[in-house]
Every structure is written in C-alpha cells, then in structure tokens.
C-alpha cells in the first residue's frame, strides 16, 4: 500500500451482526483518481461496508474517513463530494422521475443541466411515474441522482444491476471518462467484465473479512497462465470465492 493520502480510508472497521455475519477488521484505502473494485460473494459485507461510508450505520470498532472527515460524525459535509448508488434502489413510488430529480437538485442546491445531459445519455424519459418504471429505468434514475452534481468521489454498489448489456457498456464508458477527469471511484460489483474494464485495483471480501487485494496490472501479467484470456479475472477470483475457508 502506498503512502499517498487516501481519499477513502477505512481502518479496522468492524460491525458484528452475530452468527459470524457482518464485517470484521476491514481496512483499505482508495487513492485519488483510482477506480477501486470491491468484490465478494453474496452476503460478504460489501453493502455493510458501504453503509458505513455513507454514515448510515455506526461501526463498533475502527473508523472510516473520506477526505479526512469521519463518515459517522460529518456525513453531511462528505455528501457534498460523493455520488452514491445504493445496492437496493428505493425511490419514492408516488413521484415521477423528473420531480424526484428536481427535488434532489433542490436539496443539493444545484442546477439541472448535468441531470438533463445524463438523462439523454442513458436514454431515459423521466416524466414517467416511478411506480410504473421497470427495474432498469429506476436504476438509471438512481445513476442520474448520483452523478448530477458531478461529484469528486463515486461510491457505487452494484450500479449496473438491472441494466441491459448495452447500457452496462455505456455505463462503463462513462466511468472511464469520469476516471480520466480525475474522479475517485469505488465500485462494488458481481460483473467481472465491468470490473476488468474499469478497475485499477480490486479487493475481495468474504464472510466479512478481506481476503486479498490485487493490482489489475498484476493480473494482466498473470494472463498467459490462463487458457481463456477473456475471463482471466473471473477465473482468478473464482478460486477465492470457492475456497471453503480462507
């Protein structure tokens, strides 16, 4: 781990839900301008970790900081710099997409220019009632809400779930463009293809504990070992997923 000051710094974060569920002693840091992949099987603790970063839950032990600010103490300050996509999107059914976007713009005290661009980019008609929207459409609205204030840091919990392959592709392109603009991105995902395309560094969590952290450059080097290069990352990580106990 290098010594540059991390944008997201998590140290010994612990939340014990009993029955060996929760997260235990999780530490990592995400540096500026980096795309950080966060992988792990279902129930591994990815969403739990991210909830700490957003200030939704309080850790039992350890700390997490974003831009040097404590995530539990100062969430409102941090929120100015974060765009967040939740693992389980919940939008108010009674509103229509446009109203919701305007509502959030008012809460953030920002203009709607970028929201309009994003709606066009993702090909959404936000005038529909959210109640009648398909899963993918809701997901796209959530993406617009997370990106419309052009945040420095993106925290994305399975951001492409429900999106069709074409849209997933478009989203990856967008991420890469944001990365070029110097944004820091933390991406939790089950889609290896997407991780492989975008991430600089990847961490695996399993049963609440960090198992390994790899630089994508090193994976590229390992590639020749695999017969099918296309899914090298998947093969590499499947071993970790499948291991009975770490």
């Amino acid at each position: 781990m290098d010594n540059t000051k991390g944008v997201i710094v998590v140290e010994n974060l612990t939340k014990d839900y009993g029955n060996n569920q929760g997260i235990f002693d999780v530490s990592f840091r995400v540096n500026k301008g980096e795309v950080f992949g966060f992988l792990g099987p279902n129930g591994a603790g990815k969403t739990t970790t991210i909830r700490h970063l957003l200030g939704f839950i309080k850790s039992e032990n350890g700390s997490c900081k974003i831009l040097g600010l404590d995530c539990w103490e100062k969430p409102e300050e941090i929120q100015n710099y974060i765009g967040y996509v939740a693992g389980e999107i919940a939008l108010p059914d009674s509103m229509n997409g446009q109203k919701l976007i305007e509502h959030v713009a008012k809460l953030r005290k920002i203009k709607l220019d970028r929201a309009k661009e994003l709606c066009a980019y993702f090909d959404i008609n936000p005038k529909n009632k959210i109640k009648r929207m398909s899963k993918g459409m809701k997901q796209k609205i959530a993406l617009v809400l997370a990106l419309m204030h052009d945040p420095e840091i993106l925290i994305l919990d399975e951001p492409t779930s429900g999106l069709d392959p074409l849209m997933q592709e478009k989203f990856c392109e967008l991420l890469l463009r944001e990365k070029e603009r110097g944004k820091t991105i933390m991406l939790s995902s089950h889609i290896f293809n997407e991780v492989e395309k975008t991430c600089d560094r990847v961490m695996i969590i399993k049963q609440g504990r960090i198992i390994t952290e790899v630089d994508m450059k090193d994976i590229d080097k390992k590639r020749p070992e695999f017969v099918v290069t296309k899914f090298s990352l998947e093969q590499y990580f499947m071993d970790f997923y499948k291991k009975e106990k770490q």
């Binding site: 839950i57 100015n80 967040y84 939008l91 509502h103 008012k106």
Partner: protein, 241 residues
C-alpha cells in the same frame, strides 16, 4: 434556522400528511353533527365529540388513527421503504430531517385543531347550542396539547422502529390501550383505572370549573421526553438503508 430546517423537506413532508388533516377534520365534523343533538352547551359538545361519544364517532379513535398515519408516514415509512437514503445522500443532515418533519407534524396538528375549533363553533351556531368563547377555546387548546402528547408517543415509537408495520401495531396497542382503560374507568368498580390512562389528563369538567392549569402543565411534561427520546434515537441509530 437553515441548520435545523430544510424548506424542501418540509414541503415534501407536508404533501404526505395534508390529506390526513382533511380526513380527520371531515370525520370530526361529522362527529360534531352526530353529537350536537345531545349537547346542552358547547363544552359538552366538545367533550362528547372528543372523548365520551360512541365508539364509532369518537375523537380519540380518530386521533389514534391520525397519529399512526402522521408519525409513520413522516418517519418510519421512509426508513422502511429505504427512500430516506436519497435524502441522506445529499448534504441534508438527520437533524434537519427530524426538525423539518417534527415541524410538519406539530403544524399539521395545530392546523387540524384550529379547523376543528372553527368548525365546532359553527356547529354550535347552527344548532343554537349555548357557547362561551373562553371555555370553548380553552378546551380546544387542551385538546391540542393532548394531541401533541399522543403524537409524541407515536413519534417516539416511529423513531425507534424501522418497520412501519410494527410501529403501527405498537402505536395502536398503546393508544388503544389507553382508550380502553379510559372506558373501563367509567365503570363503577374500575374507577382506579383512571390513574393508568392518559385520557384522565383531558378533563373538560376541570376546564368548566376553572381548575385546568395542571393539565396544561402535566401534558407537555409528558410530551417532551417522548419527543426528545425519539429524536435522540433517530439521530443515533443505524439506518437499514
């Protein structure tokens, strides 16, 4: 001010409760009409409409329902459905959410009771019931303070629970329990039960006798710890968003 309240949250929250204000006022107006034939004077009308009336037309029942809807619609539903995550991933603080929603809750109850006061006095005019401004508005004020206590309990529960279903059931059990105890306490041998129910503190006879100050002191003293306790819990708890 801007640190405590968010105008945008107030606006949104108001949209989720104003219908219930109207429903309650409408129901209670029907109630006035139903009770008007049996009341000799205005205070009796209020007492009947709010507390003594029959089970179907009873202010206590409406109040219980309205409190359930208000506090769960404002607080618990958003946690339960997870939509609070949208607000909390903007620079809005939990404190601002709490104070804004608390303000909506209190002002909904105040406007509800003002409307009830005005509509009730119109009813007395229509039916030629003897009316005295001082007593009338004192009873309305007492009812308002009483509703705030009930709302504080519902608010407290709404803040502690993450599932609106459980919050609703718990509020209904507690407030319904008070109502039942209140009814039982009117039966001869069960008079002691009046010390176990909140309803004792809505005493219209005391207002008529001019001995009502203690109620205006006791009720807020009950409400404050519930509001504070709910707020503290909401500010500190883990939100399953």
């Amino acid at each position: 001010m801007s640190k405590l309240f968010s105008f945008q949250i107030i606006k949104r929250s108001f949209k989720s409760v104003w219908v219930w204000v109207l429903v309650a006022v409408f129901a209670q107006s029907v109630n006035y009409f139903a009770q008007s034939s049996q009341a000799d004077n205005a205070t009796e009308l209020l007492a009947n409409a709010f507390i003594n009336g029959n089970i179907m037309f009873n202010g206590m029942i409406f109040l219980t329902l309205v409190s359930i809807f208000f506090s769960t619609a404002l607080i618990t539903n958003e946690v339960d459905r997870g939509t609070l995550a949208i607000t909390l991933s903007t620079p809005i603080t939990r404190k601002q959410i709490l104070f804004s929603k608390g303000l909506v809750l209190v002002s909904a109850l105040v406007s509800m009771n003002l409307l009830l006061g005005v509509l009730g006095s119109l009813t007395t005019l229509m039916f030629g019931i003897q009316f005295d401004h001082g007593t009338w508005w004192t009873v309305i004020a007492l009812w308002l303070v009483y509703t705030l206590v009930v709302a504080s309990i519902a608010f407290f529960i709404g803040c502690w629970f993450n599932k609106s279903r459980y919050a609703m059931v718990t509020i209904a059990l507690i407030l319904g329990g008070f109502y039942l105890l209140g009814m039982l306490s009117t039966i001869d041998n069960f008079e002691f039960l009046r010390f176990t129910t909140l309803q004792t503190l809505f005493n219209t006879d005391a207002v008529i006798n001019g001995d009502f100050l203690w109620q205006f002191i006791a009720l807020p003293l009950i409400a404050i710890p519930f509001f504070v306790g709910g707020a503290v819990k909401f500010l500190r708890k883990d939100l399953p968003l």
